[in-house]
Each structure stands twice: as C-alpha cells, then as structure tokens.
Amino acid sequence: MIHRLCILTLLTMSTLCAASETQLRPLEINHRADILQRGAETIAGVCMSCHDLKYLHYRDLLSIGLSQKAVDSYRGELSLEAPLLSSMSADQRKAMFGLVPPDLSMMARAREGGARYIYTLLTSFHTTEAGGVDNSLFPGIKMPDILSYSSAEDPEAIRKTAREAAIFLDWAADPHADERHTLGYYVLAYLGVLTLLLYLLKCRIWQRLDAPDSKSA
C-alpha cells in the first residue's frame, strides 16, 4: 500500500501541471459504430477539404463499419491503402490560409483535453461586434466557422455534428484504444489472481521460519 501511495504522489505531481480544462465543454466519448460513421462522414465531407489525416488509410474506415460503397465514394480513384489526404495540395492550402492546416489524425492526442478540445473549438465560433466571426477558445484562428455554428438557427444540431466529428477524431488518434481497454481488464484480472496466489505462497513459505530449529541458513 505504501509503495502505491508513494508512486501515486510522484504521479499526481505531473497532473498538477496540466492546463486547466475548465472552459472545455463536457463530452461523453463513446465509440459506437453509428456515431463514428456519422463523424467520419463530417470529417471526410467537410474537414478534409483542408485537413489531412495522413496516418489513417481508407481501409481503416471499413473497421468502424462504414460500407464498402461509402468508403469507395470517399476515396474515388485512390486505393484502399492510400492515406486520407485533402484533395487540395499543400501549396494551395498554404496560399489560402497562410499555413498548411494541421493534420488531424493525432489531433485528439495533441491537445490538452483531447476530443473535448476539438468539440469546444468547433462550437466556440461567434459573430463579433464588427460583424466578423471569431472563436472564443482560439481567438484569431485561421479556420473558418466551417459548421456555421455562429449563424446556426439550430445550434444543438450543429453541436451534435461537432460532437460526432470530435469522437471520430478521438478514435482516429488511437484506433486500438478499445482493444487496449478490453485486453487491459483481462490482464489486470490475471495479475490480480496471480498476485494473490503469490502472496499466499509467500505466507506459506515464510511460515516455515516459525517452526523451531529452522531459522538458520
């Protein structure tokens, strides 16, 4: 128990330094197939006009249950092995925004708050007094209000789209997370039983020392 406390004390020190995430909207992350599929639709149809997801391949989209037909429609002439790249060249995008929009395949791991950050960012656009559009989470962001949140008549519908896109990116940043958790429960259960047995064996072996005239080496 003392070991654990010690290690945890050391560990909590590094969490103290994590940026405050209080301004982020709450988001329940659930990698349900239909959510991921709708998220993929938004990403492929909207975000990928400007963003790449270069560590993802079209075949990966089949693993979240998208139909072959849907994947075919996204990839066009490209092979299933091709990475998910924007249809615009990097130069074109740079000319348009002044920089190449960041790759999205690791975005949910590359920001404090992960998917919550992405969801909040997409739903923080608002009209300014001057009549322009700005983002309260990232003032001066070069990305346009692509989901038209600032002018939406039904913001909840946009929030839903943004949530699903963020959840898709959460999956995309670590596609093995669910497999990892499932395996983790088995591993911990196994270790729990093993450690208990080792403990009992330890007690049993150490009991020999209590017997008379067995102390010496």
Binding site: T9, L10, T15, A173, L198
Partner: protein
C-alpha cells in the same frame, strides 16, 4: 538430470554459483518491503531493453520519418501500441522505482560503511539512467522532444572556454536536427547495455557486503535466511503488485506520461509557450531555473544530482540504521522529501513571481540540508549517546570501533 548437472559442474561452477548466490545466499530476515525495489529496478531494466529492441525494429531515426514511424508502430505493427506504451510507461516506472530505492537507502543511511561503493555505483547508474531517458525522449520527434533537447543541450553552453563547441559536438550541428536524432538513437540503444554492466558491478558489491537491513546492525547467523526461497517469493509478490499498477497505466492511461504537446510534430520555427521536462527531471529543472545565472544554474543543478555521492562523508554519525534510531536525521529526511515535492511542483509551472521565490527557497533548503548534515549528525550522535540507545545498537558500535582500532594497530 543430475548427471547432466554433474557434467556441467566439473566444467563450470553452476551448482556452486546457484548455491552461493541464491539457495545459500544469506539475507537478513528483517528486510521490509522497501528492499523489493532493487529487484524491481532490474526487472524494469529488462522490460525496457526487450520492448526497446522490438521498437527499434520498426523505428526510423530520421527527422522526416521518426514521428510517422512511431505512429506506424502504434497503428499498424501487431500489438505495436502495447510495446510502445510499455516502453513509454516503463521509463516513468523506472524512475519511480529508482527514486524509491534511493529514498530507502537514504532513510536507513545504507550509504555508510561498508556500502559506499554500492552507493556510488548506484549514483553512476542514476546518471546513466537520466542520460538514457533524456536521449530516448527525443526519439518520437514531437514538439516537447525537440525543444526539451534544445534547452538541455543548450545548458552546456555554460561550460567555460569550450561551451559553444561542446554544444555543437553534442548536437552534431548548430541546432537539434537529423544528426542529433541519429546519434541520440544510437546512444539510447547503447546505454542500457552499459547500464547492465554497471548493474553487474552493483550486484557484485552487494553480494560481497550483503544486504543492509532496517536496523543497520549486522545480524547474527541465526537471523539470516537464504535468499531462495524466502526472498525470491517475496520479490515475486512485490513484482505482482508493481505489475498491477504498471499495467493499469499501460492499458488504461498510457497518455498520462506523454505530453499532449509531444504529439505535435517537432517544429524548429515554433517554440512552445511552455517547455517542461518529464516529471522525473522536474525537481532538478526547478533548481536550474531558480538561479538567475546560466552557469550558476547549471552548476547548482549538476550539484543537486551529484551531491548524493558525498553522503558517506557528510553524514558523520556512527549510529547504525539511519533514521530508525535518529529522530533528527528522520526529520531531515522527511523535510528533504517535502522539499523535493515542492521543487517538482515548481518545476512544472511557468516561471513567475511567487513560484520563482518558492523555488529559490526550496533550492536553498535543498542545499542547506546537505551542508548542515555534518554538524547535525555529529551533534545528534553525542546527544543520542548521552540519552541512551538500545543495547544491541551500542554493542554493534563498540564492535565497529574495536575493529577500527584493531586495524589501526596492525
């Protein structure tokens, strides 16, 4: 089976070795769980070497390809995510274990005669571990990797006369770049094997002077038990407990130890607003930052790591068992622990007014504790001798003193 063993024994001291170092190796019966951590450190070293070898099969030490190859490992290599997370979590686990192992030795003053060489070989191991971890952190080539390496290599600029040349020599260029990455990769692969060699020396010394124990008094023969089976099973039980914590992080919270910033590709043109090392360097980093002058900061930081080596000289109290029989030393120990936690907290924050002063105060206390130790330990010894100690402790001290004077006469 026994014929085979006989055959080997005539040509190689197999049974002799097993008997001497395991089944007949005398170990104090009263070792507490704090004595498990040496074994755990050895285990994690092997874990890191094995997982590292498999990572190296798929990793590409090239500035253009490094981050992509790590993602390739995480996404496409079979169970690559497991190997990578085992390795990244293992680094933190290694430091946690080593720091507990050191704290144990500090608390019980295990650095005293005859274990000075164990303490110093441990100090060398700590430095090698730090170097290995630092170089390994560059390999994913994320923003924190890049800028962390930039900041730390830059410290060597403080070297008198040759500062600039040394920095260029370390980096293989004027800035961190492709050449830095390949040399850090090669050295990160090499160092663990040097560490293994040093561990071997650490163990030879251990098996010569034998384990210390919580009383600090050399135990009588009948208080010694054999390492196997008593401590093999106890260490395995400890290993089980460790693995439960370790696997929780590997499977459920691996990103706990990976800065979000480090998942952004390294960008030499964009300095992150806040550069911060891994948690295990934070106290030393805080000491570095609390001295306004670069050279002064570097000296203070190196001293804060190296000062442990001086403990056998600084602690002049001859009462065995460290904090066990010495209330003042115990207080100093806990003060030191709190001070390190404060420094760690300060090291993680952006440097600003009040925290800067807290860091400076903690740095001052850090060195104050070490520099007062020679006087305090002397005074404490006198005070405790006057106050009275358990007879076993006094008998041990008399025996030691007699041995000492006997050696002087001869």
């Amino acid at each position: 089976m026994s014929r085979m063993v006989d055959w080997i024994d005539r040509r190689f001291p197999l049974s002799h070795f097993i008997n001497k170092e395991l089944t007949g190796y005398p170990t104090p019966r009263n070792l507490s769980s704090w004595w498990n951590f040496g074994f755990l450190a050895g285990f994690v070293l092997l874990l890191q070497v094995l997982s590292g070898i498999f990572l190296a099969m798929h990793y590409k030490p090239d500035a253009q390809l490094a981050l992509g190859s790590v993602e390739h490992i995480m996404r496409e290599v079979n169970y690559g995510w497991l190997i990578r997370y085992m390795h990244s979590t293992g680094g933190s686990a290694f430091f946690a274990i080593i720091y507990i192992h050191m704290a144990r030795s500090l608390y019980y003053a295990c650095y005293h005669k005859p274990r000075e060489l164990m303490w110093w070989s441990g100090q060398v191991l700590l430095l090698m571990l730090m170097a290995t971890a630092f170089m390994g952190y560059l390999l994913p080539w994320g923003q924190m990797s890049y800028w962390g390496a930039q900041v730390i290599t830059n410290l060597f600029r403080a070297t008198p006369f040759f500062g600039d040349q040394i920095v260029v020599w370390l980096r293989g260029g004027f800035t961190i770049g492709d050449d830095t990455l390949s040399r850090f990769f090669v050295l990160h692969y090499l160092f663990p094997f040097l560490i293994m060699g040093m561990v071997f020396i650490h163990l030879i010394a251990l098996h010569y002077v034998k384990s210390s124990n919580p009383t600090g008094i050399e135990l009588a023969k009948n208080e010694q038990i054999t390492f196997h089976p008593y401590f093999t099973i106890k260490d395995l039980y400890g290993l089980g407990l460790f693995l439960i914590i370790y696997c929780y992080f590997v499977f459920f919270n691996p990103d706990f130890f990976i800065e979000a910033n480090n998942n952004i590709p390294a960008n030499p043109l964009k300095t992150p607003s806040h550069i911060e090392p891994e948690w295990y360097f934070l106290p030393f980093y805080a000491i570095l930052r609390s001295i306004p002058d670069l050279l002064g900061g570097v000296i203070a930081m190196s001293l804060s790591v190296m000062i442990f080596a001086a403990l056998p000289f600084l602690d002049r109290c001859k009462i065995p068992g460290g904090a066990r029989y010495r209330p003042v030393y115990r207080t100093l120990f806990y003060l030191f622990m709190v001070d390190i936690l404060v420094l760690g907290y300060v090291g993680a924050q952006p440097p600003n007014g009040v925290l800067m002063q807290v860091g400076q105060a903690a740095t001052f206390i850090y060195f104050l504790l070490f520099s007062l130790l020679p006087f305090i330990s002397r005074k404490e010894e006198k005070w405790l001798l006057a106050k009275g100690l358990p007879p076993a402790v006094l008998a041990f001290m008399e025996e030691e003193a007699a041995r000492e004077s006997g050696r002087k006469k001869s």
